[in-house]
């Protein structure tokens, strides 16, 4: 296997073996603490623009299986592992992660002391990084990294949002909208079990959304900075306009965007929340949640927005959920359906459904 480097913008060098597609990659280096679910991670649109470090040292053990994707393609720019599995368990008849990355044109690097890397990111905050081959001019790579814009200065949502309005009619009584900022596939699936669904590209105007006959709107998860100019000019004003016209439920980036629309502010977390063990307190109970976000709602900016914090992260006391005092608007920072047992998704969609039933505009 070819040798290569993971280069960080501060000049730190990690040597490893390249796998997956034979290509360089540049992105924001972030880590995820799930012990399984690597395929779900790779295909999570919220990772668009990022180089993903897996904290669990063995990746690819049970193979790559069609059912386990969060979207049709891989969204990470590259993946960093301690070891990837060349001979996965045959239990799911899955393929090898190496092949999978190759087929999707995504590079990976293995043999990395990922724990050292994680601790560095934890202490210094997320950094820009690059994966390059062993013959690269490392000094130049570092200089380029320093000079390059952060990946979340790009309009990442545009890359993962759908391009056209689509309708799924499953003969339900109620129709809802899904504003796709990079929605994980389960959201549309879960909605379709209860509602007819109209999916909108992220930059759809409020008028178009309103006139499409929906009774409520889900604002999906997605990658990057919620306060990116491209979002501030599209999604945020649209939601602001719709906020007193229909129930709105934001998830992940959708939660941050909803808060922005109501006048709150967001900020970048030092190294984000990415993993399946994040404890969240809600109504006095603790729920273990699955999260993937680098930005958060600024609690201090909520005054006057009508939004109140109703869920808090127990690791760092950041905002995990908000709800409007009068309007049928609520949002969760985490991904409710990916958090089994303690919090089943029924509750969230039941709440959304009851808001739709209860509110006539």
């Amino acid at each position: 296997m070819a040798q290569g480097y993971l280069v960080l913008e501060d000049g730190t060098l990690f040597e490893g073996e390249l796998f997956g597609a034979c290509a360089d990659a540049v992105g924001e280096v972030v880590f995820e603490t799930n012990m399984s679910g690597y395929q779900e991670g790779l295909t999570d649109p919220s990772y668009e623009g990022q180089i993903l470090v897996m904290t669990y040292p063995l990746i690819g053990n049970y193979g790559i299986v069609d059912d386990y994707t969060k979207s049709p393609g891989i969204h990470v720019r590259a993946v960093v592992v301690r070891e990837f599995c060349k001979d996965p368990s045959p239990m799911y008849s899955g393929g090898c992660i190496d092949e999978y990355l190759k087929n999707n044109g995504v590079p990976g690097i293995s043999g990395i002391d990922t724990r050292e890397l994680v601790i560095k990111i934890r202490n210094n905050g997320t950094m820009k990084g690059a994966i390059v081959s062993a013959d690269a001019d490392v000094d130049k790579v570092v200089a380029d990294l320093k000079a390059s814009p952060a990946s979340d200065e790009e309009n990442l949502v545009a890359k993962v949002s759908c391009k056209e309005v689509t309708r799924t009619d499953s003969s339900k009584d109620v129709t809802v909208g899904l504003l796709d900022c990079g929605a994980e596939s389960w959201i549309a699936k879960a909605l379709a079990e209860r509602f007819n669904v109209v999916t909108f590209p992220y930059d759809t105007s409020a008028d178009t959304i309103r006139s499409s006959g929906i009774s409520g709107l889900v604002v999906s998860n997605g990658p990057g900075n919620p306060a990116h100019p491209a979002i501030m000019e599209t999604v945020v004003p649209a939601i602001r306009e719709l906020s007193d016209k229909m129930p709105i439920f934001g998830i992940g980036l959708g939660a941050q965007v909803t808060a922005l629309a109501m006048g709150a502010k967001t900020y970048k977390l030092k190294f984000g929340h990415r993993g399946g063990n994040q404890p969240v307190r809600c109504n006095g109970r603790v729920h273990i949640t699955t999260q993937n976000h680098g930005y958060s709602i600024d609690e201090g900016s909520l005054e006057g927005t009508g939004l109140v914090v109703n869920q808090v992260n127990l690791f760092d006391n950041t905002v995990e959920g908000v709800e409007h005092g009068e309007l049928p608007i609520f949002a969760t920072q985490y991904h409710p359906m990916a958090s089994p047992g303690a919090w089943d998704e029924e509750a969230v969609f039941d709440k959304f459904a009851s808001m739709i039933e209860g509110v006539k505009f």
């Binding site: 399984s36 724990r115 601790i119 109970r285």
Partner: protein
Amino acid sequence: MRKDYKKLLVIGSGPIVIGQAAEFDFSGSQACRSLREEGYKTVLVNSNPATIQTDADTADAVYIEPLLAENVAKIIEKEGVDGVVSGMGGQTALNICSELADSGELDRLGAVLVGTQPDAIAMSEDRELFKETMERIGEPVPISRSVNSIPEAKEAVEIIGRYPVLIRPAYTLGGTGGGIAYNEAELEEICARGLAYSRIHQVLIEESVLGWKEYEYEVMRDSDDNAILICNMENLDAMGIHTGESIVCAPCLTLSAQDHQRLKTAALKVIRALNIEGGCNVQFAFNPENGDYRLIEVNPRVSRSSALASKATGYPIARVSTKIAVGYTLDEIPNKITGTTSAAFEPSVDYVVIKIPRWPFDKFRTVDRHLGTQMKSTGEVMAIGRTFEESLLKGLRSLEIGVKGLDRVEIADGDIEKELREATDKRIFVMGEALRRGMSVEAVSEMAQWDTFFVQKLKNIIDMEAKIASDLTPEVLKEAKYMGFSDEAISEISGKTPLEIRDMRKSQALVPIYKMVDTCAGEIPAQTPYFYSTYGRHSESEKTDDKKVVIVGGGPIRIGQGIEFDYCCVHGVMALQEEGVKAIIINNNPETVSTDYDISDRLYFEPLNLEDVLNVIEAEDADGVIVQYGGQTSVNLAVDLEKALAGTKTKVLGTSPDKMDVAEDRRRFSKLMDDLNIKQPRSGTGYSFEEAKAIAEDIGYPVLVRPSYVLGGRAMEIVYSTDELKTYVDTAVKVSRNHPILIDKYLTEAIELDIDAVCDGTDVYVGGIMEHVEYAGCHSGDATMVMPPFTIGQDIIDEVVDITTRVALALDIHGLMNVQLAVKDGQVYMIEANPRASRTIPFISKATGVPLAKIGTKIMLGKTLKDFGLKGYRTIDHYAIKASVFPFLKLPGVDSILTPEMKSTGEVMGIDEDFDRACYKALIAAGNKLPTEGGVYITVNDADKERIVGPAKELKEMGFTIYATKGTSTYLREHGVETTTVFKLDENQKPNAVGLMRDGKINLIINTPSLKSGALRDGYTMRRLAVELEIPFMTTIQGAEIAVGSIRVAKSGEIGVRAMREFHTFQ
């Protein structure tokens, strides 16, 4: 929210037995600390003196009493306990709690169960209730039926529709009496056994899920219904092998995230349905063909698995469970690891944990080594690494079975398949061997029913061997070390010496680094001083300038090396800390207190080989290392460690390794005894059978024989004739120039004494003298011991103290020493001296109140006995009796006769001012079912006839029927004891003892075999039956006297409970 209790009682789990080992010392100790932290008054009861939890400062009052419901009730009443912590003492404590709850005794005493409630115990233990509960919440269980008889069992099989079926007795430990039946005959046999063992005479007949995968989920819930997952674990061995017998990895490695979420959801549903507040273990069988699963078992308490999960993740399950039990919710409990967050989160790990069981088959050559649904292992090791291979290889070399990794085994090609299909303790090595010989990964997987994922990892190891063998370049060495190969293993494969490998490694700066176990995969800064080695770039165990000492631990619990050594290590840690020295523990046993990360200043979870220990010492730049406390494991390292550390700042503390060698080396030791004018039984060393024969004839039979190259009584036997010597040489050992056998005169009918002493090089303190009840020749680990001595006179005691003192000074002991002496015809003989902590240290410390292990440690640091005001010998004014607990019931095919080979797994203590009462407590606590009525079978050798009359008469007076064989019967009648004469077994006539035993007419057996060739073996059938029917069996006249005295006590009914502080101990 914290609830108020006046006083809380924690019930321990009693002696170490197969299925219930040191994990409950760990959980019980953690529970007590956790409660005291919250300001509760606490009481602890446990019969096991070798535990940390029975230390005086564990609780406000500590009781060393037999773990019976009636005793627990007395303690509750006496202490005014209003809450009983139910979930910390394994099945033993749970059974006592449900008994007290069912009988209404708890209500009467005004106490409640804290933690696991009676209904939860019932729902998880009672198979029918469990099934109903699971069906109610829609979780699948195997099709099954509870039955109370064999005909019902057959009906159940008809309903299930096919063999094989599993048979699981209700309310037993470690699956005792269970099994798999492939046909009706086996069904009948196993059911009969299972019904007998079940406390409620009930077994479950169950659909077989053999060959399915087995996963375990450790979950936790609080009173607010917050429920979380702590850890999941994957058994490498498929269903059909008890999880305690399986190699296990954590977290699950072959389970997809979706299936993990399904199982997690199910586990959380279960803990909610059972309304458990605290920790709970849920076991699943998972069909790899289609993803179906079945719930197999739920343990509503901390368990062996939860101890493993605690050590594997760093999440203190027992501590948190205890706080939940007294009313706290998860988010109210601070997370000590981060210091900033709460216990309400799910650990995420970034390493691979492997657990491998440690079996006692090296001690029992005749035992059936097959693994199944009944536990046979006595302990386990855990290893942590960044890859599976690294973790596995570390685990294998932690086992203390003489392997360096995935070592070669001798096996004929034709036997491989059988060994792979029918697992024994050797299977993993045979898998390696099969791959080495070219069998495909798929074929090995299919035969062993292991996922190919794991077999491929074994293949990677085998492939690396080939690379090492062909050319050990620096690159290959690096790869091999990254994969977890030890220097010794690389040495063996490459033909270089371990030292050459070490030098080569160091010359390329290839040294291990240490990573932290922090519960959160590095996401949150953690303060845990808990580390494991790996190879990589960044080490997290930063050197400090503190004065620090490394204590080498004892490794897995096995016969001959039990929890006592963990006790000593923990006391060593405490003593170091009291002296302001940082204490560093190296150990690999996940069950113990010493590997609780908040016991020492730093914990390294590592194999205890020279390489691994040296690496830690070097990484820490330690000032000293203590090898006296980890039993033979650490003592064996003494000489090599000193050699390797020469010229560095690290000193081997205490007695010098050279003096330790004097004690271990027979020639040097014999010379010392001659110089000191201390008698020893005559002895010699034979390098061939002929030499051995000549020596034995010269010394005179009987002789004690053993191989020179193993320690701890392995393969030691008493031989009565040349024929027996020949058999021994042919079957038990290989005798050669390099492996001679040692021959000692066996002193018949001698009294044996065990003495533990502390010496500072100037003064000696004799901590205690224990007299064996059995004659010399029974391993001291198995013998029943009485402290203070109960038959020998003051003159002998004075001589014993004198000998001990002189030997300690001559060996220049700094720290602890154990001496074993024999007394015959008024003469005192030296048997052996061990310059280290012995297994009786905790026992003596508890009997006297003098903490010997702590004092020994402080002496190693330079204090003197004068500082403690200790010198000479003081006796105690009460009796402490040590009785041993044996695994015979779990190990079919093993003889229960006591020999020089140690067989017991654990011990108990009976303590009382009255000798008989102390004996009674010890015998009962050890699980002897002493009868108060019924029949006694007596058959004694001629020498014992005179002495049996008294006990026989007393038994008769107490209303027992005496059965005896002709010789004994005649003698007893002549001396006025009425008896019923029965036939000997070989007379083939009825009535005989075996028939009467089966009919339930014999409830106690006194059988002293004649000490001559072959006689010991004759009683095997009867002894084995006694084991299976759980009839107390006395093989010595002294044992018989003690049993009779104990029965008298039992019939008098006046047995109180006393806290340890009520005894007049020295401190």
